[in-house]
C-alpha cells in the first residue's frame, strides 16, 4: 500500500530551481511514486493537487513556507525523505557557506557600493518590484524572470530610458557585458561585433557561430522577447543600438528578433539608417526588403547573420549563406546513405528543441520544402497540436514553452521532458529526429549525456522493427564553455547522430533527407 506523507517548514525559503531539481531526486528513491518539494506558491499547491499529494495543511501554506510531500509505499518514512531533502539542500549550499549573503538589494549595495548590474530571477510576481528598486538605485538590470505583466515591462523600460540605464528583460535569457556571460550565455571570445537580441537562444546561436568563425563580440545586450511588440515599442533595442553606435569597440552591429510589430520594425530600422557602422538584421523570417530599404543587411538564418557580421568586419564580400560547410558532394553522400536505410512507411519529422528560437527557425526554414509542421508554437494557428504531448505527422516542439515548464525547470537546465517524450513515443512513420544541444553557463552540465540513453533507445526500438531512425543535431557551444564541446560532439557521433555545425545546417540536411523520401 502507498499513502501521502508530508512535512511543512514555516518561513523557510529556497529558490525554485533548486527545489525542482531536488523533487526529481526524491522521486528516484525506492518506493516513492510521486514527489513535490517546493514553496507554498499557488502554482506548487496546484501541482500537488494535480499529483493527488495535497491536503488541507498544504492548501493553507504561504509562498514563504516550504513543504515536502510524497506518495510512497508504507515502508518509506517521511523522516527518511526529509533527511534526504536536507542532504540535497546542504550539498547545494555547501560551497557558499562562508559567503556573506545580505537579505535585500539595499543591504547588498551597502556592502558592495560599486555594484553596477543586478541580475534578477525571482518569481515573476515579485520581479518587477525588485527591478524598479534596482533602477531607482541607478543600477543596470538584467531581468531573467518571466510572468511579468507587459504594463510593468513598459513602466520599467520607460524608467530605465529616463535614467539612461539598461533594462534587459523581463524574460531576458542571455547577455554578455564586458565579456562576462550573464544567465544563459556561452563563453565567446572578445571582439568587435555588438549584438542586441530579443530572442535568447537565437542570440546564443549567433554569438557561438561568430566565435567558431574566429571573431568575437564587444557587447551582447538582451531585451527580452516582447521588446519589439507594439506595447513596448522597442525601447530597449533602441537604447542598445544607441549604446553600440557610441561604443568604440563595436565595429559591426547585429540585431536579432522574431518578426516585430510593423511600426516598431520601422522605428528600429530608422534608428540604424545612415549608421556609420554596418548593421546586420535578422528578424527571423521577417520582411527582408524592409530591412534593406534602411541600408541594413538582411539574413536567411541565424548562422547567416553571424557570417555576414564576420564578413563585414573583415571587409569581405557579403552574400547569403544557404548551404553547408561541407562540400555539396559530401552532403549528397550523407543524404543517400541515410535515405537508403528507411523503409517505405517512414516519412515524418520530429524536431525536439530546448531552444525556442531555434525551433522557430527550424519551422521557418523547413515549411516551404517539406510542408506544414504541427507544433506547440506553430507558424500558423491551424497547425497548433491539439494535445502538445502527442506528436502528429511532421511535428516540431519547443520544450521551453509554458506548457512544458509549469513547475519545472527550463529544458536547457533539465531536459527531462524531452527525454521522456523520446522514451515514450513509438511512431513508426517517423524518419528524422532533429535536436539542439545548448551548452554554456546556465545550461545543464551535460546536455548531451542526459539525452544519449533516450536517443540510443529510440534508435534501437526502430531497428528492432526493421526500421531506421535518422538523428540530426547541432551543438550551440564554444570550445571555452564549461561543458566539453568536442566531447559532446564525439559522443553524439558515436551514438550515430549526424552533428552539423549550426542549427540552420542541421535543419537543411533534415529537409534534404525528408524531401528525398517524399
Amino acid at each position: 500500500m502507498s499513502s501521502v506523507k508530508y512535512e511543512i517548514r514555516k518561513n523557510t525559503y529556497y529558490d525554485s530551481v533548486t527545489l525542482m531539481l531536488i523533487s526529481k531526486e526524491i522521486k528516484k528513491i525506492d518506493g516513492v511514486k510521486e514527489a513535490l518539494v517546493g514553496m507554498g506558491t499557488d502554482l506548487n499547491k496546484e501541482l500537488a493537487e494535480n499529483l493527488a499529494i495535497s491536503n488541507d495543511d498544504i492548501r493553507n501554506l504561504s509562498p514563504n513556507d516550504f513543504f515536502v510531500t510524497v506518495l510512497a509505499d508504507d515502508n518509506v518514512q517521511i523522516e527518511t525523505i526529509s533527511a534526504e531533502v536536507d542532504k540535497l539542500l546542504s550539498n547545494k549550499k555547501k560551497s557558499n557557506e562562508s559567503d556573506y549573503m545580505p537579505p535585500t538589494l539595499e543591504s547588498a549595495l551597502k556592502h558592495e557600493p560599486e555594484s553596477n548590474i543586478v541580475v534578477i530571477s525571482v518569481a515573476g510576481e515579485y520581479a518587477a518590484a525588485e527591478a524598479k528598486k534596482a533602477l531607482n538605485n541607478n543600477l543596470h538590470v538584467m531581468l531573467f524572470s518571466d510572468n511579468v505583466s507587459i504594463e510593468d515591462e513598459r513602466e520599467l523600460k520607460e524608467l530605465a530610458c529616463q535614467k539612461g540605464l539598461l533594462m534587459m528583460g523581463p524574460d531576458c535569457g542571455t547577455a554578455i557585458i564586458n565579456n562576462v556571460p550573464l544567465a544563459f550565455a556561452n563563453v565567446v571570445r572578445k571582439g568587435h561585433i555588438g549584438i542586441v537580441g530579443a530572442s535568447g537562444t537565437g542570440t546564443q546561436e549567433v554569438t557561438v557561430i561568430i566565435d567558431k568563425l574566429g571573431e568575437g563580440v564587444s557587447q551582447v545586450i538582451g531585451t527580452g522577447g516582447r521588446d519589439l511588440k507594439a506595447e513596448i515599442g522597442g525601447l530597449m533595442m533602441l537604447q542598445g543600438i544607441e549604446a553600440l553606435k557610441n561604443d568604440p569597440q563595436t565595429k559591426v552591429i547585429v540585431l536579432i528578433s522574431k518578426p516585430p510589430a510593423e511600426e516598431v520594425a520601422e522605428k528600429v530600422l530608422k534608428a540604424i539608417e545612415n549608421s556609420p557602422k554596418p548593421v546586420v538584421v535578422d528578424f527571423i523570417g521577417g520582411d527582408r526588403k524592409l530591412i534593406e530599404k534602411y541600408g541594413a543587411y538582411s539574413c536567411v538564418s541565424l548562422e547567416d547573420a553571424a557570417r555576414k557580421a564576420v564578413a563585414l568586419l573583415r571587409g569581405e564580400e557579403v552574400r547569403d549563406f544557404e548551404g553547408f560547410s561541407l562540400p555539396d558532394e559530401e552532403i549528397e553522400k550523407i543524404v543517400d546513405r541515410e535515405v537508403a536505410k528507411f523503409d517505405k512507411t517512414q516519412k515524418y519529422l520530429r524536431a525536439y528543441y530546448t531552444g525556442g528560437t531555434l525551433a522557430d527557425e527550424a519551422m521557418k526554414l523547413l515549411s516551404s520544402s517539406i510542408g506544414n509542421i504541427y507544433s506547440n508554437i506553430p507558424l500558423t494557428p491551424e497547425y497548433k497540436l491539439e494535445d502538445v504531448r502527442v506528436s502528429k505527422e511532421h511535428t516540431c516542439i519547443d520544450f521551453g514553452d509554458d506548457e512544458f515548464t509549469r513547475g519545472k525547470p527550463h529544458p536547457m537546465i533539465d531536459p527531462v521532458s524531452r527525454v521522456e517524450r523520446l522514451m515514450k513515443e513509438d511512431d513508426e512513420e517517423v524518419a528524422v529526429l532533429l535536436m539542439d544541444f545548448v551548452l554554456g553557463y546556465g545550461s545543464h552540465e551535460d546536455p548531451v549525456g542526459e539525452m544519449l540513453p533516450a536517443i540510443k533507445e529510440a534508435k534501437e526500438r526502430m531497428a528492432k522493427k526493421g526500421k531506421y531512425l535518422c538523428v540530426v543535431g547541432s551543438v550551440c557551444g564554444t570550445e571555452n564553455d564549461p561543458q566539453d564541446l568536442r566531447e559532446s560532439q564525439r559522443r553524439l557521433e558515436e551514438a550515430g547522430v549526424i552533428v552539423m555545425p549550426s542549427n540552420a545546417q542541421a535543419v537543411r540536411l533534415a529537409g534534404l533527407i525528408l524531401n528525398k523520401i517524399k
Binding site: 504561504s62 537579505p103 525571482v122 525588485e130 539612461g164 564586458n178
Partner: protein, 56 residues
C-alpha cells in the same frame, strides 16, 4: 557619455537576486558578485507587501 557606455568601460560587478546557480557561475569565473538571500516581502502576503511598499 551615457551610463550604458560608462558601464562598458567598467569592471562588471553583479548583485544576484534569485537563482543561486547564476551566482555560482559568476563566482567560478571570478566575476565580482554578491548574492542576495532573498525572500518574498511580508512572507508573500501581497496586501501586507503593498502596505509596506507605501511606507518606504
Amino acid at each position: 557619455m551615457s551610463k550604458i557606455n560608462e558601464l562598458f568601460n567598467k569592471e562588471v560587478k553583479v548583485i544576484n537576486i534569485g537563482l543561486e546557480s547564476f551566482y555560482n557561475d559568476l563566482k567560478k569565473q571570478k566575476v565580482s558578485v554578491i548574492h542576495v538571500n532573498w525572500r518574498p516581502v511580508a512572507g508573500g502576503n501581497k496586501r501586507m507587501a503593498s502596505l509596506l511598499s507605501k511606507l518606504k
